[in-house]
């Protein structure tokens, strides 16, 4: 993207204004996320920078919202629920999604595109519709306001991500490897665990991370299918924003940003490792 030495002044002006525009768009993307981090150390219950904060007076900063988060039972219960629900939902959707992706990637799979379309529809149907349907139906069969109901709902919403990532990993999967394993005397189970799993593992893990974040971040279904007993972190944030808006939400948001940075890093590392393993890395 470097400018050639023979560029005309007009081209120079255009080039730098283009870069400025891009810079502003990146700023628009990232600034709102960054800004909440200093705001969460506010010592007064406002969502803005106070005079003390701007003059870097230590009195303007405090950790009390973090303290509130770590001692408040509402939040601690939400953290516990979030992890329980997300972990179990992830296990269900990863298992079912991986097996289905293995089937979908077989060359002899009939109606592949149609089945794929059906399996990834939970990702496309607006959440409010899924939530409405699940609310009516789960109420009828007694799963509403239970952990099981929320877990099943989240598992269904997470499967498309697993199916997509694992199928993508299996593109270009060399099926002669499994035949070679079979020919060398390995049972199908042994072939699966010793040959297939190590190769698709990066895809499975990144699919699992997607499924995890889907459940961890999901709020519409929890709002309708769950109740206070099933409150998750997003549920608590949603009701917090609606009722008493306190900077504890900003403290939670900051912790969640750090959490998503960790998840993003793992997914990126896995993606690169996966590409390297399958030998399609071009750079």
């Amino acid at each position: 993207m470097a400018l050639p030495t023979y560029a005309t002044p007009l081209e120079r002006v255009w080039h730098y204004s283009y870069l400025t525009i891009c810079g502003l768009i990146f700023f628009f993307l990232i600034a709102p996320i960054i800004i909440i981090i200093p705001l969460s150390f506010n010592s007064v219950p406002f969502f803005t920078f106070t005079q003390e904060m701007l003059t870097l007076d230590p009195a303007g900063y405090s950790l009390k919202w973090y303290q509130d988060f770590f001692t408040n039972l509402n939040w601690q219960g939400a953290v516990k629920n979030s992890f329980i629900i997300a972990v179990i939902a992830t296990i269900i959707s990863t298992t079912l999604g991986t097996i289905a992706a293995l089937g979908l990637s077989r060359p002899e799979m009939p109606y592949k595109s149609a089945i794929m379309g059906i399996l990834i529809s939970p990702m496309i149907v607006p959440l409010i519709i899924s939530a409405a349907g699940m609310y009516f139906f789960y109420t009828k069969i007694g799963l509403a306001s239970t952990h099981l109901g929320v877990i099943l709902a989240h598992a269904a919403l997470g499967t498309p991500f697993v199916v997509i990532t694992v199928t993508a990993t299996l593109v270009g999967f060399d099926h002669s490897l499994t035949r070679a394993a079979a020919m060398l005397g390995a049972s199908p189970t042994r072939t699966f665990f010793k040959v297939i799993v190590p190769l698709i593992l990066p895809g499975v893990i990144s699919g699992a991370l997607f499924a995890f974040i889907t459940s961890f971040d999901e709020v519409v279904v929890v709002l309708f299918v769950g109740s206070y007993e099933q409150r998750t972190i997003p549920w608590q944030m949603f009701s917090g924003i609606r009722e008493q808006i306190s900077p504890t939400i900003l403290a939670v948001a900051t912790l969640l940003v750090i959490f998503s940075i960790m998840l993003l890093t793992s997914v990126e590392l896995l993606r690169r490792r996966g590409e390297r393993l399958r030998g399609i890395r071009t750079t």
Binding site: P32, L104, M109, I115, I128, I129, G133, I233, L264
Partner: protein, 422 residues
């Protein structure tokens, strides 16, 4: 010839004597079944936890058993009554109705029926409450007793609604969702101008979603182009700036916009400090349409950047150089050569953003206020506050139909199997 063919057929058999063609077909079928059996567990799981609830919701939007079930004596008799005669039903119907009311009073179901009929015509809720209270004292002649209990029973139009809604299935929820209803003579007509809410809301939702899609495209195009032409080391660094918002919780981003946009918020503080706006005249940027649009563009932007970027990466830079060397100005080369090459990415990203925007609930609910509410907020309202589940289901079904149509187009452009994440 015949013998020749037989010889060939005879030669092509497997070791156990089965013709090769049959054996191959069997093996292929077995493989197909094996592949299908791998997909089956997930398919069943999705069917039970996801599809069934949605089908159940579709069913609920036409289902209308309640009135006929509770009023099980009078409702069948009412079917023989000619509602266009202008006369009240005869004594037998009133007598059956009295029995129904006495039973409904015991089972405490009359209020539910009244509420159901109240959606169609206001006044039924009170009428049923009042009548149920007086039910034990109703005596023959029932017609006069009912009219004495509440004179609404003497009005033919009440009976017309009662008859119409005592059938097991109804389209009245869909009519309500499209701002239509039954006129005085029972014909379907559009509601009065000032009572049309939902069509306006649908159009507003579509319009806001289109605006958000256009803004996302406008913002995503330049940065996707930059990402695609930069050397990998730099673009990998910059793409993190796109991926981080993508991975950050939706509520975190919505909270951030509340902190930024509110009247005592950061942006207002800055413009006041810069002197653009007086302190007592702070900008109203939240709890209205502006807030919804800004926050949703920010939330959905990564969904536009990622497909655009993946398409732009595949366009060789030599195309643009070739166009320029053939005499095109940079602008012509860009419009005539580069943009047509990115259409697939634009289509994929635009449909994805539009689908997500049209069904968005959380952000409009938190920052939308009055003018920023979308159709999904009304679905939620009818589910949890007004408890008109049939109407919520009908609105949801219409929204679902729109989304599925777009999903189908998305498949034609991108293909389900080519969907990628991150």
């Amino acid at each position: 010839m015949a013998t020749n063919a037989a010889v060939i057929n005879e030669q092509l058999v497997t070791a156990d004597g089965v013709p090769l063609r049959t054996s191959l077909a069997r093996a292929q079928r077995r493989n197909r079944l094996r592949a299908l059996s791998l997909v089956l567990p997930l398919f069943l799981f999705i069917a039970i936890t996801f599809f069934w609830p949605i089908v159940d919701m579709l069913f609920r939007s036409v289902e209308n058993q309640l009135v006929g079930e509770v009023m099980h004596r009078s409702a069948p008799l009412l079917q023989d009554w000619d509602e266009s005669s202008g006369e009240l039903p005869d004594e037998t119907v009133f007598a059956a109705l009295a029995e129904d009311f006495k039973e409904a009073r015991e089972t405490k179901t009359s209020g539910k029926v009244g509420r159901r009929l109240n959606y169609e015509k206001p006044g039924f809720s009170g009428l049923f409450r009042k009548t149920a209270r007086k039910a034990p004292k109703l005596e023959a002649p029932f017609k006069d007793a009912f009219i004495k209990a509440d004179k609404k029973w003497g009005k033919v139009e009440m009976w017309q609604v009662f008859k119409r809604e005592s059938t097991p299935y109804t389209i009245s929820y869909y009519l309500a969702a499209m701002d239509m209803g039954y006129g005085d003579t029972g014909e379907i007509a559009r509601n009065a101008e000032n009572k049309r809410i939902y069509m306006k809301l649908f159009w507003r939702t579509v319009w806001i979603s289109l605006l958000i899609t256009a803004l996302c495209l406008l913002l995503a195009y330049p940065i996707s182009y930059l990402l695609s032409v930069l050397p990998v080391a730099k673009s990998n660094l910059l793409i993190i700036l796109v991926l981080l918002p993508f991975w950050t919780s939706l509520l975190v981003r919505t909270t951030a916009w509340i902190a930024l946009l509110q009247q005592e918020g950061v942006i207002n503080d800055i413009v006041v400090w810069l002197g653009f706006v007086a302190d007592d005249n702070r900008l109203q940027m939240i709890h209205n349409r502006t807030g919804t649009i800004i926050a949703m563009v920010h939330i959905l932007l990564p969904f536009m950047v990622l497909p655009l970027y993946s398409v732009m990466k595949t366009i060789p830079p030599s195309y643009m150089r070739a166009a320029k060397s053939l005499g095109a100005t940079p602008f012509t080369a860009f419009v005539r050569v580069y943009i047509p090459n990115t259409i697939a990415g634009v289509g994929a990203g635009a449909i994805l953003v539009f689908i997500l925007a049209i069904g968005y609930y959380i952000t409009p609910a938190l920052v939308g206020g009055q003018s920023g509410t979308l159709i999904s907020n009304f679905i939620a309202f009818h589910m949890s506050s007004s408890l008109n589940w049939g109407l919520a289901a009908a609105l949801g079904s219409i929204l679902l139909a729109v989304v599925l149509a777009l999903y189908f187009i998305y498949d034609k452009i991108v293909g389900f199997d080519n969907m990628k994440l991150g």
